[in-house]
């Protein structure tokens, strides 16, 4: 036996994973959880770019992005509940929280953010809802009465007060959206036993990828909804969105790569395990899919779309394609972090494998259902809250902020 061959044999034989590490406990559900909260946070950022930072080009989607965020927010806890062994005890996290737990704060942060987002929607939509209430029949009239909290007052003084409230809510909404998703990153980043997760950069990377996924989700859905509705897309809005998407994605992708490069450069004993993971079971989903196809290609596509004078159709179609690829990139990133981190045994000597089944409780089909639900909720919400501003509603918006 040649020495080379012997070394290979030995390498293969040294694999050992702890007996309890064979099973991957955090399934596809925990991949979806940060994915959905990220989309929520990102969509809110789009709305804030208009409402707080007054990027006027984004006005056509400023309301839509809030409703979009709410639809996804409504489903953010579903994967968690489906994952818990005892979902009936889930509220204990808020009733009897352990203050040292990085997870115990999620219920509070999520609820607080939900309240701010809902209030902001109600105040921004108030003039519209009052107008709709006057035209509505029985049931819808009751719905609008509840949503306007019985106030039909559209006097300049009332609208001026609304404007102040909206500015306040949108203002505190930005740090809250950042906290929501930065915090989700911290849930992973605080696990010192896992060399892939335990990095102070984790909240940053999660937050940037959240912004990216939210903006991409808005662009793609905006283009698709308008396409199916046979309405025109506001091209200035789309071009501005694409520029922001490119900007955030530059930061996101560069940080993701810097994080890996830092690990490689420091080359602690953890790098040995990480390298085995990234060039082992994660090679396909990380290097080929996440980095190679769904990061590098949209990176250049977005640059091309942002920097060159292109026809409206080109921007619309390729902008949507790039956005779709970014959405896949972020989903792959969540997968590679959540599942990838668990594939490394804490024995530091080997990796396990995970292949979700289609029909198991936390498998692929439940995941598809959970990802489709926000779209159903978005449709229902669109029946109540007009997603797009017509001239009438715009007049109210103009005076309300």
């Amino acid at each position: 036996m040649s020495p080379e061959h012997g070394a290979t044999v030995a390498e293969a034989l040294t694999r050992y994973i702890f007996p309890n590490d064979l099973h991957v406990h955090w399934s596809l559900m925990i991949v979806l959880y940060p994915y959905i909260t990220g989309i929520v946070a990102g969509a809110f950022i789009v709305s804030s770019l208009y409402h707080v930072f007054h990027i006027r080009a984004l006005k056509p989607i400023s309301r839509y992005s809030l409703i979009f965020a709410l639809a996804f927010l409504a489903c953010a806890t579903l994967p968690l509940l489906n994952h818990l062994g005892h979902p009936e005890r889930a509220l204990n996290m808020m009733l009897t929280p352990s203050p040292t737990s990085a997870m115990a704060g999620f219920g509070y942060i999520y609820s607080a953010y939900g309240i701010v987002l809902s209030l902001e929607i109600l105040f921004i939509y108030r003039p519209t809802l009052v107008a709709l209430k006057k035209e509505a029949t029985d049931v819808m009239s009751a719905v609008y009465t509840v949503l306007t909290i019985g106030s039909d007052n559209l006097s300049p003084r009332a609208l001026a007060l609304d404007r102040k409230v909206i500015a306040f809510l949108a203002g505190i909404g930005i740090p809250m959206a950042c906290t929501l998703h930065g915090y989700v990153g911290f849930i992973f980043g605080g696990v010192k036993a896992n060399p892939l997760w335990a990095t102070p950069l984790m909240p940053v990377i999660f937050l940037l990828s959240a912004c990216v996924s939210g903006i991409a989700g808005i662009i793609l859905s905006y283009v698709l909804i308008k396409k199916f509705a046979g309405e025109s897309v506001d091209m200035e809005c789309i071009r501005t969105c694409i520029k922001f998407l490119w900007g955030f994605f530059i930061l996101d992708f560069v940080f993701e790569m810097l994080e890996l490069f830092s690990h490689a450069y420091m080359a602690t004993h953890h790098w040995h395990t990480l390298r085995e993971l990234l060039w082992g079971p994660l090679f396909g989903s990380y290097w080929i899919a996440q980095v190679g196809i769904f990061s590098v290609i949209p990176f250049f596509m977005l640059g091309w779309l942002s920097l060159f004078r292109l026809s409206d159709a080109t921007v619309r179609i390729w902008g949507a394609v790039a956005s779709f690829m970014i959405l896949v990139q972020v989903l792959l990133m969540r997968w590679n972090v959540v599942i990838g981190g668990q594939l490394m045994s804490k024995s530091e000597r080997g990796v396990t494998y995970y292949h979700p089944g289609w029909f198991e409780k936390e498998g692929i089909l439940p995941s598809i259902i959970i990802m489709l639900l926000p779209l159903v909720i978005l449709y229902v919400l669109s029946r109540i809250f007009p997603l797009w501003q017509t001239e009438d509603t715009a007049a109210g918006e103009e005076s309300a902020g």
């Binding site: 012997g6 030995a10 064979l22 818990l84 005890r89 737990s101 997870m103 849930i187 010192k192 024995s347």
Partner: protein, 271 residues
């Protein structure tokens, strides 16, 4: 107004009665496996941890328990794993304790395995080692009962908690099975029990210890590779091992968890 001491006494009496009922139930079951039939009465069983039966009150604060595994003694027979399986209904594929076999060849390659957690013992030598073997040893693994436990830190509902005498335990009635503790444990001693749908792990046989008995695995070890005792008792074997010159270490000291599980003769190859 009732005197506060009287109220406290009332509470303590209720607790004692409750705990004693709980222990009578679980201990009776486990003793059947260790003690010949007919010896059900605890009074007939010698106390294995001095003074434990004199302890009153639900909380023990004067003791600091520690576990010592002597790697130089372990023969990999798997008796501890069998005793553990008998003591608890551990579902297939999950391990409260296991024994690893380390083999090092003369090219310094390290081979580790633990088929079925070492439950059947290591009766056959490995035949797939391409070079002459220069060293081999066994490493039993169990809960490290950390002084700074990651699992207690991350548990969102406080279901995993630490007692003052050094145990890290799980309240099965509170656990939501989020799995965060499983991720946080650097030693992978935790699992989600598919039957109870809660987190589960080695308890150092807390129910036995409270009755003055040694953990089941310590009791059955034929070579005294597993030792358990009170570090506040200067006569205990664990105190002597940890306070006299010995080659003693803990697993993954860099994690900062300060395990109460110590290893005599721990080798650098062991993770």
């Amino acid at each position: 107004m009732m005197d506060m001491d009287a109220v406290q006494e009332e509470i303590n009496r209720d607790r004692r009665a409750f705990i004693s009922k709980v222990f009578q139930g679980t201990i009776a079951g486990s003793l059947l496996l260790v003690i010949p039939a007919g010896a059900m009465d605890l009074a007939g069983i010698p106390e294995q941890i001095p003074g434990m039966r004199a302890e009153t009150g639900p909380f023990i604060t004067r003791r600091k328990f520690a576990f010592v595994v002597d790697i130089t003694r372990c023969i990999g027979c798997g008796s501890c794993c069998v005793a553990d399986r008998n003591e608890y209904q551990v579902p297939e594929g999950n391990y409260r304790t296991w024994v690893e076999r380390y083999i090092i060849d003369d090219h310094d390659n390290v081979y580790v395995d633990s088929p079925d957690g070492g439950l059947d013992g290591y009766q056959e030598p490995r035949t797939d080692i391409p070079y002459p073997v220069r060293d081999t040893f066994f490493v039993p693994k169990l809960c490290n009962m950390c002084e700074k436990p990651s699992c207690v830190q991350v548990c969102p509902v406080g279901a995993t908690f630490q007692t003052e005498d050094g145990f890290v335990l799980i309240d099965q009635k509170r656990c939501v099975a989020c799995g965060y503790c499983v991720q946080a444990c650097p030693y992978s001693v935790r699992f989600i029990n598919p039957v109870t749908r809660t987190a589960d792990k080695c308890t150092w046989c807390y129910h036995r210890v409270r009755k003055g008995l040694l953990p089941a695995c310590v009791n059955v070890c034929p070579v005294q590779a597993r030792k358990f005792g009170d570090l506040n008792d200067r006569e205990s074997e664990v105190y002597k091992i940890l306070h006299l010159p010995h080659v003693v270490s803990v697993l993954k000291p860099g994690m900062g968890n300060k395990p109460s599980l110590h290893y005599v003769g721990l080798r650098r190859e062991v993770v």
